[in-house]
């Protein structure tokens, strides 16, 4: 990429904007004071937005990572000969599971895990498994039978078939599942503040409760940018991956 086009890259601009909102929200005090003269102070005054974002991102990263490992792992097991019988069950589970709204999953996890970050983590983790599982199953099943047959016929071991053939060919589909999981989790983590987790949703919930609409706007801007940026990064990763894989 040349220098010129680098500056035209929306990812760079959005990242800069995002960092500005994270660390420089207080610079916007006059703007919010002018727009919402009745709200004092006009800028959310709890934890800094940087701090909130770190908590929020940490929660999303850990839960999505765990969900990705479990989701891909379960799909691998279900597509082996030994795990064949679990496959219809897992497929049904993944499909039915996704019809639950994430907020409902959060509500269910409170009585089970109490208040704070733990029920939020559990909700994000459990809900995050579903798209990964579903896409991994589809991705591995989508590997042409002829390719698998030729591989086996040439003497690749089952492990080599999985590592060198199935996973690379399924990678773009699996990544798409992880992408959905992460983006949904970024949004759901915000609702985690209703059950006591510290996230970028905290100013939103606080603002709604105390009728301070500027806090809601500030939180929403940061979460929105965070989600858009993450999605763009996945888009880049997907393009990279497609250059190397999935030439079928």
């Amino acid at each position: 990429m040349s220098k010129r086009s680098l500056w035209r890259d929306p990812l760079i601009w959005l990242s800069a904007l995002f960092v500005f909102f994270l660390v420089g929200m207080s610079l916007l005090r006059p703007v919010f004071a002018w727009a919402f003269p009745t709200i004092q102070p006009p800028i959310y005054g709890g934890d800094s937005f940087l701090m909130l974002w770190l908590f929020h991102a940490g929660l999303v990263i850990v839960s999505s990572l765990a969900a990705a490992i479990v989701g891909v792992g379960a799909a691998i097991v279900a597509t082996r000969k030994a795990g064949e019988e679990f496959r219809p069950l897992l497929e049904a589970l993944a499909t039915i599971g996704q019809t639950f709204p994430p907020a409902a999953v959060l509500a269910i996890s409170v009585p089970a895990f109490g208040y704070g970050a733990v029920p939020t983590f559990m909700a994000l983790f459990l809900y995050g498994i579903l798209p990964v599982l579903k896409n991994s199953l589809a991705g591995i099943a989508g590997v042409p039978e002829a390719v698998r047959d030729a591989g086996t016929g040439m003497g690749l071991t089952p492990w080599q078939i999985l590592r060198d053939i199935e996973l690379p060919l399924a990678a773009p589909t699996i990544l798409a599942g992880i992408r959905i999981s992460v983006i949904v989790n970024i949004g759901t983590a915000a609702i985690g503040s209703t059950v006591g987790a510290i996230t970028l949703g905290t100013p939103i919930i606080g603002g709604l409760v105390s009728d301070k609409i500027s806090y809601v706007i500030q939180g929403a801007i940061v979460i929105g940018l965070f989600a858009i940026l993450t999605d763009m990064l996945f888009e880049r990763l997907d393009q990279r991956l497609r250059q190397f894989a999935a030439r079928a």
Partner: protein, 306 residues
């Protein structure tokens, strides 16, 4: 050498292969033909243990196939299939190098072998080496599939309708090429096909299967001249059996020194081509040219049946 002794395969009480025995000598080209569901593909897949035997024994190069781990056995046997199954995310070079790398050859040796194979299959390494399978035509992909099967220089090559999905022209050119490769390398080849002409052209011996049983095993000339039963006669061509038999002979073996008028037929053409030309030109004799295009004599209609 490939030996099948009383080989059987069944799923539950459904028998796919029943008591199949035949031997393909070292360096021979055996074509396995039969109608759909005759068990010809199954018999092939039993040899490299993609399917497990129910009964009987199979020996490859004198060794019982059950005495080796399946992966090790398969790396010693070339395998090419109709759907090719090239790895779409690997370059042509890497696809060809699959088995040599599984066998942990040195990278220098792998490179050298890939080059040899490009030469053997008359492919241009400069334009193909770093391409991906989807960038090649069906015929080229199939050629790479054959190269990949030959990569680790196996003594035995198993081919399951390798040219089945190609257009007639490409198919014919690959057939000719396979015959040339067989001659050049001396591999023992077992080819499954449902195309009788392909079997007749390529096979030193032909195994005819029906309902999982061997109906006849012999040279193409034997089978055409003495079909074991009505099924073989009909399957091999029925009324055109004589023409099939004629196609096995070559003009060069029926030459006369006499001269004849008209456009010459090549000496290495099959006799059917000579007959076809005679019918077209309404004549009972044709001039013959050798491979250099020089006059080599003539062929008479009466020689075709002699």
């Amino acid at each position: 050498m490939i030996e099948l002794q009383h080989v059987g395969k069944s799923y539950g009480d459904k028998t796919i292969i029943a008591d199949l025995s035949f031997t393909v000598e070292r360096g021979a080209f055996c074509a396995v033909i039969g109608p759909s569901g005759s068990g010809k593909s199954t018999s092939l897949r039993l040899i490299n243990r993609l399917i497990d035997l129910t009964s009987g024994t199979i020996r490859v190069g004198g060794e019982d196939i059950m005495s080796l781990p399946p992966e090790q056995l398969r790396r010693r046997i070339g395998y090419a299939i109709q759907s090719v199954g090239l790895f779409p995310h690997w370059t042509i070079e890497d696809n060809i190098a699959t088995v040599p790398r599984l066998l942990k050859w040195s990278e220098a040796k792998v490179k050298q072998r890939v080059e040899e194979l490009f030469a053997l299959l008359q492919l241009d390494p400069a334009t193909t080496r770093l391409k991906y399978p989807h960038q090649l035509s069906g015929g080229q992909q199939q050629r790479i599939g054959v190269a990949r099967a030959l990569a680790a220089d196996p003594d035995i090559l198993l081919m399951d309708e390798p040219f089945g999905a190609l257009d007639p022209l490409t198919r014919q050119s690959l057939r000719t090429e396979l015959a040339r490769i067989h001659k050049a390398t001396g591999k023992t080849i077992l080819l499954v096909t449902h195309d009788i002409d392909e079997a007749l052209e390529l096979g030193d011996v032909i195994a005819i299967l029906r309902d999982g049983k061997l109906v006849q095993f012999g040279t193409p000339a034997d089978i055409l001249a003495k079909p074991a039963n009505d099924f073989v006669r009909d399957f091999m061509g029925g009324a055109s059996l004589g023409l099939k038999l004629l196609s096995l002979g070559h003009v060069r073996d029926h030459l006369r020194p006499d001269a004849a008028e008209g456009i010459a037929v090549p000496a290495d053409a099959p006799l059917t081509e000579a007959l076809s030309q005679m019918v077209l030109r309404r004549t009972d004799r044709l001039p013959v040219k050798d491979t250099n295009g020089k006059p080599a004599g003539s062929i008479f209609l009466s020689d075709l049946v002699g």
